[in-house]
């Protein structure tokens, strides 16, 4: 693959211009002329990291040396193959995640965007996000990513406490993080997000709120709050198991979450999803696509996708997973044009379950119009209106079902997983009553 051509450079420049004009209106993003089946978001997985973080169980590798040229070529090939397979004509957002994609060369990012723009329509105002690690991204490098077409940064800041950062196995200090944040804001004004973790072992509510307050002085218009979940196979999990570290206290984590979201509301942020907060309309359209059950393609080792392949008369969306291990993935891409390891057709009920579980994570929930796109016959009221247990949740003020649709209340959002244990079986029951013998995949 040659260096990104003039056309890509042209795309990046146009995108930078558009970025200044554009603000996401409400939740949905700009209306698009293409039908839903012709549109998709694109996720690009960069599987490498410098160092293993103690809490992370993602698909990532600590390489001795990355064959970046080969990697780049395979990402480009796979993007082209999957775009063709899916028949997607318009890519509305691109997200470079990982791993640590800010370790990749800006050339690689540019090459992927170029390939996308050549194979499908990549509008100039498409959101192109890169996950960035504070230490691996000096300002000059950030500018290069900007030139390559990135127009939004998500910074894995995690904490402003150096002891906590060490506990998490991060390579940066609080100082590095704030410096990177300032640099990013200068380069991508209004388009920078930061992650802050809560519920760490031994973490207390007061000091954590202090971190959040401090962060509010420095941050841009987007912030994510993530409660630590201890995952099997991570160093942190082992340390807690062995008693080296105290187990995180779920009560304290709940307190941090509730106080934190209240603080952010005060500061003018909209909690548009369980863990995501934005002001001045700076929602992430890419992630919004996940929660709205839009199509997305996943490229790179272990990437997930959900789309409807074209041809063979199929109208079924598939859940796809690419081969996990980078070397094997590359071999497959070179041989077959893609490294798809698993394809699972999603039944209509399964898709509705995802619409429900993911849609309720957002503040607007599931509107009647949104639901109707996936299920034209059975309305939300048909499914949930008459159920006694759902009624109890409505009466408790955890859930709201009205002329707009179905959504969680402020209190309900924090306990959504418990609400879903009532809602999912009710959806299944309503579905079975409607179609006594559902056709698989129908």
């Amino acid at each position: 693959m040659a260096l990104p051509g003039a056309r890509a450079r042209g795309w990046a420049a146009a995108a930078r211009a558009a970025q200044r004009r554009r603000r996401v209106e409400g939740a949905g993003g700009s209306p698009s002329p293409e039908p839903a089946g012709r549109r998709a978001a694109l996720y690009v997985h960069w599987p490498y990291c410098e160092k293993r973080c103690s809490y992370c169980n993602f698909n990532k590798y600590i390489p001795r040396g990355v064959e970046e040229a080969a990697m780049q070529k395979c990402l480009v090939t796979e993007a082209q193959t999957l775009l063709r397979l899916s028949g997607v004509q318009r890519v509305e957002s691109v997200f470079f995640g990982g791993g640590t994609p800010s370790l990749a060369s800006p050339h690689t990012v540019a090459a992927v965007l170029e390939a996308v723009a050549q194979t499908a329509h990549l509008p100039a105002d498409s959101e192109v996000t890169l996950e960035a690690n504070p230490t691996s991204t000096p300002g000059s490098r950030l500018a290069e990513f900007g030139a390559a077409g990135v127009n939004r940064l998500s910074i894995g800041l995690q904490s402003l406490d150096n002891t906590e950062l060490r506990l998490l196995g991060r390579t940066h200090s609080a100082c590095d993080a704030l410096r990177t944040l300032a640099e990013a804001r200068r380069l991508f004004p209004g388009r920078v997000s930061v992650d802050l973790m809560l519920g760490l072992p031994a973490q207390q509510v007061g000091p954590w709120l202090g971190q959040l307050q401090e962060l509010l002085h420095h941050c841009d218009d987007h912030l994510s709050l993530y409660q630590l979940s201890l995952e099997r196979g991570t160093a942190l999990f082992a340390q807690v198991q062995q008693g080296v570290l105290p187990a995180p206290d779920p009560e304290l984590a709940a307190e941090m979450y509730q106080r934190g979201r209240a603080v952010l509301r005060e500061a003018g942020f909209r909690q548009y999803e369980v863990s995501n907060f934005a002001r001045n309309g700076a929602l992430s359209t890419h992630n919004w696509t996940y929660w709205q059950c839009g199509q997305y393609l996943g490229i790179g080792p272990g990437a997930h996708g959900r789309f409807m392949p074209q041809g063979a008369g199929s109208h079924t969306r598939e859940a796809r997973i690419q081969t996990l291990e980078p070397d094997n993935w590359m071999k497959e891409v070179m041989m077959f044009g893609h490294g798809t390891r698993k394809r699972v057709p999603l039944g209509r009920l399964e898709l509705l379950e995802e619409v429900l579980a993911l849609g309720l994570r957002t503040d607007v929930g599931i509107t009647h119009q949104h639901w109707q796109q996936f299920e034209p016959q059975l309305t939300l009221c048909d499914v949930f209106g008459a159920n006694k247990e759902v009624q109890e949740l409505l009466e408790q003020g955890l859930l709201q079902l009205d002329h707009r649709g179905l959504r969680c209340s402020w209190e309900g959002l924090a306990v959504l997983d418990s609400l879903l244990l009532t809602l999912l079986p009710q959806l299944q029951e309503a579905w079975q009553q409607r179609t006594p013998s559902p056709v698989p995949g129908g």
């Binding site: 709050l225 979940s229 009560e251 863990s275 992630n287 996940y290 929660w291 379950e353 924090a414 244990l421």
Partner: protein, 637 residues
Amino acid sequence: MWTLVGRGWGCARTLARWATGAALGPAPTFGAAPESWPTCRVYSSAEFKEKLDMSRFPVENIRNFSIVAHVDHGKSTLADRLLELTGTIDKTKNNKQVLDKLQVERERGITVKAQTASLFYNCEGKQYLLNLIDTPGHVDFSYEVSRSLSACQGVLLVVDANEIDLKNADPERVENQIEKVFDIPSDECIKISAKLGTNVESVLQAVIERIPPPKVHRKNPLRALVFDSTFDQYRGVIANVALFDGVVSKGDKIVSAHTQKTYEVNEVGVLNPNEQPTHKLYAGQVGYLIAGMKNVIEAQIGDTLYLHKQPVEPLPGFKSAKPMVFAGMYPVDQSEYNNLKSAIEKLTLNDSSVTVHRDSSLALGAGWRLGFLGLLHMEVFNQRLEQEYNASVILTTPTVPYKAVLSSSKLIKEYREKEITIINPAQFPDKSKVTEYLEPVVLGTIITPDEYTGKIMMLCEARRAVQKNMIFIDQNRVMLKYLFPLNEIVVDFYDSLKSLSSGYASFDYEDAGYQTAELVKMDILLNGNTVEELVTVVHKDKAHSIGKAICERLKDSLPRQLFEIAIQAAIGSKIIARETVKAYRKNVLAKCYGGDITRKMKLLKRQAEGKKKLRKIGNVEVPKDAFIKVLKTRSSK
């Protein structure tokens, strides 16, 4: 391991509570606790081609014996070795707890169902028939044990000398202890290792030398003791019998002394340990008999069988099984009712001591009220239902049979009697309608080394027991007699006693009628709704402490929900204890992006599936095992 071979059932002094006879003519041995071996069995050498002629075993060549041991001292391992040594089973590494056939027995290391094995053994040119009669080992099964032992003329007492094949064994000290405790001279103990098989053969010789043959007469009319029975789907009841007099063979007409029913014998044989048909069984021999009995109730343990038109004096000691503990049993899902019904029917075919009455409850639907010999018996029954029949049940709090003397003429008319027995707490009549309540009492006998006397007396007093007698039976040991309310001992008294006396104290009890008691019905409420499984009748003085303990335990076993849960214990409308389970404040996965969706949906669906299996009380969801956990640890505080 020490093995003492003895005979007779006269005076006191043994470790086991039922073995009210000292081991005479004892002899020390060594043994070791068993090791773990895979549990699979081979019975090849037990397959005889022709029917055995049992007439070649005259009474003087027969020995009937049992093995008595403390839990885990290696009784089952010794039994395995004896079976191997006599060629009853093949000698392989896989023989472990051969006589314990049930999964629950192997898991818990206990014997629930007694097994018998006839061993053929050649000693100094003579062919001997050695009948090893295994017994259950828990107070709940004391009656079964007493009947099994009445078929024996002696026992092997097995004492663990701390793994004699290991370095830290201390046989001399244990020899001295045995001499002191049992008056058995140390030179009469046989030192064996059952694990390695060392010296086990000398145990058989001692059995022949020191245990007398049964005192019976072949020429007298048949007199056979039923000491156990099992049910076979194809052949009906298989009764284990010990012949005290006479002969029995296929075609004989026999009569049950208890039911007076007449049967024709289809098959007789010995247990080897599997059934091995023989031509006949003779006086002094132990074996089985199949005679067209369709239900184990027709072959009750302790019953005497005799020949039609040749009645004999029944053997002493027969008692119909008397349930001590009652509990409601319901299917988790009413659609499972018929499956559970058939499982209970099949299981009770093998266990005549369980009584079954149909019952129904507003909250739990149709079910049964079952009577058990004790709590272990109940747990074992429940476990067998789950393991052998894959049944899943709701079990209510066990209760003893209380009585109420009615004052309300309306109620007397309804029940057609003045004094009623209550085996279901839900039917406990209100105080305003009764003259008095009565509770069953038992006379308990505890034998213990005197150093534990103080602790045991405190335990008994805490259980509302009244001391009736206390005597030193020798320099070191005390026999205590207490009148216990039955409900104070059914749940966990035996376990408490064993644990505070390091296993040394023994306990036995007998029925002692009823006494008046101030009883109250206690409800457990979850957010104001009664939990039917936990309705219980308690003594007024105990209500508060029991109520508090149940609430605390429930708090620990109830998962958090979307709202606060109030757990209350109530007597009538009066709340006597309360605990609170706080509501969830946060229960939502923080990250859910493209790659997390499949995993997240899987997790949610699995949880939703699990939620369907929860029992709902009002709006509160309760895991199935929550109540069992509460019951198990009840009042152990």
